[in-house]
Amino acid sequence: MPKRVRSNIARGSADLAILSLLAEKPLYGFEIARQIGERTGGALKFTLASLYPLLYEMEKRGWVEAQWQANAAGRDRRYYRLTRTGRRQLAPLRQEWRSFFHALDALAGVSHA
């Protein structure tokens, strides 16, 4: 697979993963990485190098907004919250990935059981 296609897929899946999580509740970087890792059984894993540039870009685009707040332990963490613009991105992104998997399934039978 050409590198560009591969990186676009990785990028798109990362966008979807983060936006889907933040649609549930505001989270900070560590929690986003932890939850994605745990909920995908370790299949998706974010390093700081892959997570933060993405979060900052989403913030710049207005998809998420960030604010320093104390977490349950009383420590300051920078929480990311999905904005209305971000929420609007989520539905077409989900649809895009659904179509993508349907197409791959039709071609190569890759849908899950």
Partner: protein, 223 residues
């Protein structure tokens, strides 16, 4: 426990962002690494293994730095304005207004000759300068300025006054006849009166806002 801020700062040396933006990034990455480290320790890993785990989470430092530079670079001017320039401007305005008020009511003799003679502690405006320093530091902290940014915002008027003194000195050097009317040592004494003592007063006012205190506007549960 490792000094995560120091570690991140070291690796982020080449990150060219405004000071407030860079400090915010360093803060955020530091607490992330600290969380990873503590989770490792909480799972029974040794400190060394937890440290290794945290460093593995980073990935490639240069990729991280480059990625952040690319995504945050446009925020630079806005962050600088909010965290440094506005508090500095407010501080300068407030402290200058207070000096003028003191002067108007005869509580301040701003002439250089007198500044050297009158012990600066007798200048009533020194007593209100902590309020100016506190205001600037508070505004800078509210805009997520780092401790250094808050400190600069708090003592910035003193720098402006010191600069003015240097400019005056240059003028005196250019016009020796004007300088002749100023006693020897006046400028040095005035520097103390206009810079050192006001800076200390403003620093004292800013002190409560220089630490990394939590901002508990809203508590968000982890679960």
């Amino acid at each position: 426990m490792p000094d995560w801020r120091k570690l991140v700062r070291k690796h982020m040396r080449s990150l060219t962002l405004s000071l407030p933006a860079k400090e915010q990034v360093i803060d955020e990455l530091s607490v992330h690494l600290q969380d990873v480290y503590e989770r490792g320790c909480g799972r029974g890993l040794s400190q060394r293994a937890s440290l290794r785990l945290a460093l593995q989470e980073v990935g490639d430092w240069s990729v991280l730095t480059e990625g952040i530079r690319n995504t945050r670079s446009e925020d630079t001017s806005m962050n600088r304005t909010r965290a440094l320039l506005i508090p500095t401007f407010v501080n300068l305005l407030l402290s200058s207004a207070l000096i003028n008020i003191c002067d108007r009511f005869g509580m301040l003799d701003a002439r250089l000759e007198r500044m050297a003679q009158i012990p600066p502690s007798f200048q009533p405006w020194l007593l209100v300068l902590p309020v100016c320093g506190a205001t600037a530091a508070f505004l800078a902290r509210r805009s997520h300025g780092s401790s250094m940014v808050r400190l600069i915002a708090a003592v910035s008027p003193c720098m402006a006054w010191l600069t003015t003194l240097f400019v005056l000195k240059l003028i005196f050097i250019g016009f020796p006849e004007a300088f002749a009317s100023v006693p020897t040592g006046t400028l040095a004494a005035a520097s103390i009166g206009w810079f050192v003592l006001p800076a200390l007063a403003m620093f004292a006012g800013a002190l409560p806002f220089l630490g990394r205190t939590p901002l508990p506007q809203l508590r968000v549960s982890r679960d």
